[in-house]
C-alpha cells in the first residue's frame, strides 16, 4: 500500500566488542576442553553456571572453581519451528532451562538428539524432569555452542 507521506529507511550497524574478562575467559576455555565450569560462593554455597565473578546475593568475589556435572533435569522448554532473529543455527530449535546436577539455578541451552519435526514430537521426548546430558561439538570455538545441545538420556539408565 502506498503511503500518503514519505518514509526514510535507515539500517543502523553498530560493531561492538565485549570484554569477556578473566572469569568468562576461563569458563569458555573450559568449554574448549569439554568441561562445564562454575564458581561457588563461600558464603551461601551456591554454584553458579556459567562461572560468575561475584555472588549478587552475598556481594562476594567468587574464585572457587568447580567442574560441574554435564547431566541434569529439564525445567522448561520452548520450541521454535521457524527461524527468528538471533536463533542459534537454524529452525527447528528447542531452547531449554536445565538444572545441572549439583547446581542451584538453571542453565539456558538447547535440546537435540530427538525428533524436532514438531512441538508434538518434542513433547514425546521431553517433559519437566527429563534427564539430559551435554553433547559436545567436535570443533570448539570457546563459545556456548561448543556444547552442541543437551540430549535426553536413554530410559534404561
Amino acid at each position: 500500500m502506498e503511503k500518503e507521506f514519505n518514509t526514510f529507511k535507515n539500517v543502523i550497524r553498530l560493531p561492538h566488542k565485549y570484554a569477556a574478562g578473566p572469569t568468562y575467559t576461563k569458563f569458555y576455555n573450559g568449554l574448549k576442553e569439554s568441561k562445564i565450569l562454575g564458581t561457588r560462593c563461600p558464603s551461601c554455597a551456591v554454584t553458579f553456571v556459567p562461572a560468575r565473578s561475584f555472588c549478587p546475593k552475598c556481594m562476594k568475589n567468587l574464585d572457587t572453581w568447580v567442574e560441574v556435572a554435564q547431566e541434569g533435569e529439564v525445567q522448561t522448554w520452548t520450541y521454535a519451528g521457524k527461524d527468528f532473529f538471533g536463533i542459534p543455527g537454524k529452525a527447528p530449535v528447542v531452547i531449554v532451562l536445565v538444572k545441572l546436577d549439583g547446581t542451584e539455578g538453571s542453565f539456558l541451552h538447547l535440546i537435540g538428539g530427538i525428533n524436532l519435526e514438531s512441538a508434538d514430537t518434542v513433547k514425546k521426548a521431553l517433559r519437566k524432569g527429563t534427564r539430559v546430558k551435554a553433547v559436545w561439538n567436535e570443533e570448539k570455538k570457546g563459545h556456548m555452542l561448543d556444547i552442541k545441545y543437551f540430549a535426553p538420556l536413554s530410559k534404561k539408565r
Binding site: K3, Q75, T78, Y79, A80, V93, L108, L110, A119, K128
Partner: protein, 380 residues
C-alpha cells in the same frame, strides 16, 4: 506524606501507525496536555520522560532530540529508559521534594518505526551467554508459560480467554491498536510463534505518545475540579539471568505489597476497583493477578473463568484492552496509569465501568518474564 500529588490531565495518541512524524506527535501530545490543563509551557516546573533511544527510537540520545517538541527546553528535564512508570514516580518525587509545584511526564514511543520488538529484546540479553542461545522476550515468556501451565495445570483455553477479553474490551477504546471480537478457538488457531505461545497471545507493536500533568495538591485543585491522587507505589527487580529466578514467583508480589502498604490497602480484592495490568503475553495477566493478590497462587486460570476480571466482574482487569490490544513498548506502563486515571474520573467513555471506581491500580513490567515490576495506586 506531607503533600499530596495529583494527576491533573492526560493526553495520549492511539496505537495504530499514524501519518505524523515523531516530533509532530510529541509536540501535539504535549500541547494537547497543556491546553487541556489550561497552563502555558512556562508554568511547567519540570519534565521527566520515558523513552528508549537507539533500539526502539533509532536515535541515539533521543531525549536531546525531543526536548523542544516536549515543552522541556530551558527546564530541568530528564529521561529514564526502562519501565515507564518510573518516569511517573520520579516526577511525583520531584514535586514532593518541594522544588516544583507541577511536573510533566512524557512518554514517547513510535513502534511503527522500529523493527520487530524481539529483534530489539534480543539485545536485552548479555552478549556472553544468553544472546548466544538466542534468548529474547518471547522465548523467555514461552519458557515461563510452559512452567506455569505445567506447575498449576493452567489450560490453553484459560490463557486464550485473556486475549478474548482484552481484544473485546479494546473495541470500546479509541486509543487501542488491535481490537476485535475473537473466540478462544480463534486464539488457539492462530500461528504458533514460540511453542506454547501463539501469535494472538503476544502483544503487537504499537505507537503511543503520552503526556501527563502532575501537580502539588494546592495547585492541582486550582487546575482541575477532578484531580486523581497518587496513593502508593512499589517496585522491585529480580535477578537478570532467567536461570537464577523462580519464574512463577517473581518480584511483583514485593512491589504490590509496598504499594498497598503506602496506600493503606489491606484487602486488594475489595479495595482495588479496577486494575490495569501490563500483560505482553496472554498468560502473564493470570500470573500477575495472583501476584497482586486478586486470587490465590495457581488460581489465575480459575479467576478469568469466573468472569471476575471482566468489565462487569468483581475486579475488572484491563478494561482498556491492556497491552495485548496496544503495545507502545516503552510507554505501556503509563498507558495503564492513564486508563486508571480516566476510570477514576468517570471519563473512560464507552468503556467506563458500571461499578463505583475510586481506587485504581496500574502495573508496568520491563525485562524478560517480569524481571522488573512497578505498581502505582491512584484514587479519589
Amino acid at each position: 506524606m506531607a503533600d499530596r500529588v495529583g494527576i491533573v490531565e492526560v493526553a495520549m495518541t492511539p496505537g495504530a501507525e499514524s501519518k505524523d512524524n515523531f516530533l509532530d506527535q510529541v509536540f501535539r501530545t504535549s500541547k494537547e496536555l497543556l491546553d487541556k490543563a489550561g497552563i502555558s509551557r512556562d508554568e511547567v516546573g519540570t519534565v521527566v520522560s520515558a523513552s528508549s533511544d537507539v533500539f526502539h527510537g533509532g536515535v541515539s540520545c533521543a531525549s536531546s532530540y525531543y526536548w523542544d517538541a516536549g515543552a522541556a527546553f530551558l527546564k530541568n528535564a530528564s529521561r529514564q529508559d526502562g519501565e515507564s512508570l518510573f518516569a511517573f514516580i520520579y516526577a511525583v518525587m520531584r514535586i514532593l521534594s518541594g522544588n516544583y509545584s507541577t511536573a510533566m511526564v512524557l512518554g514517547v514511543c513510535k513502534g511503527s518505526e522500529n523493527p520487530a520488538n524481539d529483534m530489539l529484546t534480543h539485545f536485552f540479553t548479555d552478549p556472553f551467554y544468553q544472546r548466544q542461545i538466542g534468548l529474547n522476550e518471547t522465548v523467555a515468556a514461552a519458557l515461563q508459560k510452559r512452567e506455569y501451565m505445567t506447575k498449576y495445570r493452567i489450560t490453553e483455553e484459560q490463557c486464550a480467554a485473556v486475549v478474548v477479553k482484552n481484544l473485546g474490551n479494546a473495541l470500546k477504546n479509541p486509543y487501542a491498536h488491535v481490537k476485535k471480537r475473537v473466540s478462544v478457538e480463534d486464539v488457539l488457531a492462530s500461528e504458533m510463534v514460540m511453542e506454547p505461545l501463539r501469535k494472538m497471545e503476544c502483544a503487537p507493536k504499537s505507537e503511543g505518545m503520552i503526556a501527563m500533568l502532575l501537580a502539588r495538591e494546592d495547585v492541582a485543585v486550582k487546575l482541575t475540579d477532578k484531580p486523581v491522587w497518587f496513593k502508593g507505589y512499589g517496585s522491585s527487580m529480580d535477578h537478570f539471568y532467567l536461570g537464577d529466578r523462580d519464574l512463577l514467583n517473581g518480584q511483583l508480589g514485593t512491589a504490590a505489597a509496598k504499594a498497598y502498604e503506602m496506600a493503606g490497602i489491606t484487602n486488594p480484592k475489595k479495595e482495588i476497583h479496577v486494575a490495569e495490568i501490563c500483560e505482553p503475553y496472554s498468560f502473564q495477566e493470570l500470573l500477575w493477578c495472583e501476584d497482586l493478590g486478586f486470587c490465590d497462587r495457581g488460581k489465575g486460570g480459575k479467576l478469568i473463568e469466573s468472569g471476575a476480571t471482566g468489565p462487569g466482574g468483581k475486579i475488572p482487569v484491563n478494561p482498556s484492552g491492556g497491552v495485548l490490544a496496544h503495545n507502545p513498548y516503552v510507554t505501556r506502563g503509563l498507558y495503564r496509569l492513564a486508563e486508571g486515571f480516566l476510570q477514576v474520573r468517570g471519563q473512560a467513555g464507552e468503556r467506563q465501568l458500571g461499578r463505583k471506581v475510586t481506587t485504581a491500580l496500574a502495573h508496568g513490567t520491563h525485562g524478560f518474564a517480569g524481571q522488573c515490576h512497578a505498581v502505582v495506586i491512584i484514587g479519589k
